[in-house]
Amino acid sequence: MVYLDNSATTQPDPEVIRVMSDVMRDIYGNPSSLHGLGGKAERLLKQARETVARILGVSPQSLVFTSGGTEANNTAIKGVAYQHRGRGRHLITTQVEHAAVYEVCRQLEKWGWEVTYLPVDQQGRVRPEDVAAALQEDTVLVSVMHVNNEMGTVQPIPEIGRLLQDYPKVLFHVDAVQSIGKLEVRPREWGVDLMSFSGHKFHGPKGVGCLYVREGVTLSPLLVGGGQEGGFRSGTQNMPGIVGFTKAAVLAEQRRAEAVPRMYRWKQEMIEAVTDRLQDVRINGDTSEKGGAPHILSLSFPGLKSEVIVHALEEKGVAVSSKSACSSKGEEPSRVLKAMGLDDETAVGSIRISTGADNRDEDIQRGIEALTAVIPRLQHVMKGGS
């Protein structure tokens, strides 16, 4: 089976598994315990935090380990909304966020907050001037993702961060779950106050993520009771998970320079193959080298159903996804693609192909072969052929 669904989750790197396995065997103490075994765990935790901090160019104290990207996003958005509710109850986000941001905003609306969902252009990109125009007296948070998980478009985070410098009371959160190992991530330089990461998206383990909270930013924690992680996130730290996250981040960063051109080349090869060899195909999002993430390719085949395509490709030994795994069971057309202006028919016929650091050239060739074999057959059936 060829795995081309790396935006849903990735295969942990063997080195990641090895360090996790070692930690489980040797460093089982609770980092909050005062004895030597606890101290050993605490030192390891400190090292992990410092390592991730170095990669992101931030201070170790500004990193909060969580149980994943969803928890990081929930902590950031609900935490800021609640902490600063006395100052204002308005949030700004976009129509193309991951469910872990979008659904949180919807929930806050039910609790009495006002949320502006900014539109995006045809490539799925939000305009910084729209962010500026949406700012109100009572705006407390702007949340914009870095890389869109469904079509790969990169949002103008540094530009938004720059314009928000003039509004020091408005905090800026960025969901950067799809970024590590593919794009450079500089929260401090970009004027970002909060940034979410997830281990299993860059060949680390599931069940662990991280939230950058710029020093000085206050928020009401999602989980209380114990005061771990500087009080931002209570609960005994998932030590093997955190160490696995850290190892994966180090490897992703080391490999980025050589992995990105390769992923980008694969993306171009796939785009060329489908445009040359298939009919009625639409390529979604910004596919330029600067404007799109190298690992995500979104294709639409109007008239087909994405689930049918996914299963047909699976029969050919290729795993891709219909949209975000977090919402892949719904039958509705993707909210994100619709926000980019796709009609329902085109949106329901969309698939996402996403590559990882462990794919090889042959995987891409097999993916292309499977697509070019499956799609014409399905299109023929849909048009009433035999």
């Binding site: 103490g29 149980s67 969803t70 928890e71 929930n74 209380v224 209570s234 005994t236 998932n238 093997p240």
Partner: protein
Amino acid sequence: MAIYLDHAATTPVHPEVKEAMLPYLEQQFGNPSSIHGFGREIRNAVDRARDQIAGALHAAPGQVIFTSGGTEADNLALIGVARALREQGKDHVVTTQIEHHAVLDTCEFLEEIGFRVTYVPVDATGLVSMNELRQAVDDRTALISVMYGNNEVGTLQPVEEIGAFAREQGILFHSDAVQAFGVEPLDVQRLPVDLLTISSHKINGPKGVGALYVDRDVPLRPLAHGGQQERRRRAGTENVPGIVGFGRAAQIAMGNREQYREHTSRCRQAMLEELESAGVTFTVNGHPERHLPHILNLSFPGADTEVMLMNLDLEGIACASGSACTSGTLELSHVLKAMHLPDEILRSAIRFSFGRGNTEEEVRQAAQTIAATVKRLTEQSK
């Protein structure tokens, strides 16, 4: 080689648990929400683990919500129920003064968002006062939350009685059973509980995973939004290796529960015997009979807790002042304070907690070291 007597803080991962987890880190890495084969196989693994946890509690699989640990499960239980029942005009929660911080701090948060919380006192053995608990409820009480067995002194609470009372009053009942799971018989068919918290790393499973049992018809609002996982009650990609490890750990723990009880009881007894025969002065904190078998909380009047811990650590004995979760601090235990123990008992309390890897032999050896340390410290201070 250190003697680890801090199993109530965390336990080493069982080798078979680790073995069970590895395939889900290696080849079986898919996202359970994916519709292709990679996802479906993983979904099956999560379902098997859910069956294992449900089996350990005599619950139905659909009643088990996987979380990132006991803390999240406690937060979810209290905040989830409180938010849901606020819509029905309920604004009151009853708990005790000796809960784990995961419950107490959550109650403080509930107070911040407008709930009233009554913290019921306990007696000198750490047993909650049934009378005061009965008097604490009113017609706007949404939830009673009382832990099954205390993590610092081991006292077992009258959960059956509390649960029966809660049912009678039409109030939901949550119990934090993090320390009791794997040790006490937890049968939700028999126990009148509506929500129950358990944690993996206390039963030789991995850290970063826990579960909340939620009875059918219990209204619960999620803490984390953004994804349809766990029947929309807990968003986020499932920690598959963690969940698989937790399931396996629960299965092993259930198979060995009786032996484990006997084993830890013997270790506890051995510690007491050795300390007595060594002739040191100590008191046992907690209830003399109604206690978890693996927890032993002792005070050595005259030997300051912090100094003791440091000295024992140097001697290779890992134990604790109270809960590890009061994160690296050496505040006086809120549990012992609630038991109204004399100051010299409060200031010299140490928690020993036994587990799978301990031998009776090493516990006796540890006890002798402890006795010698106590003698040295108390003689010095004279």
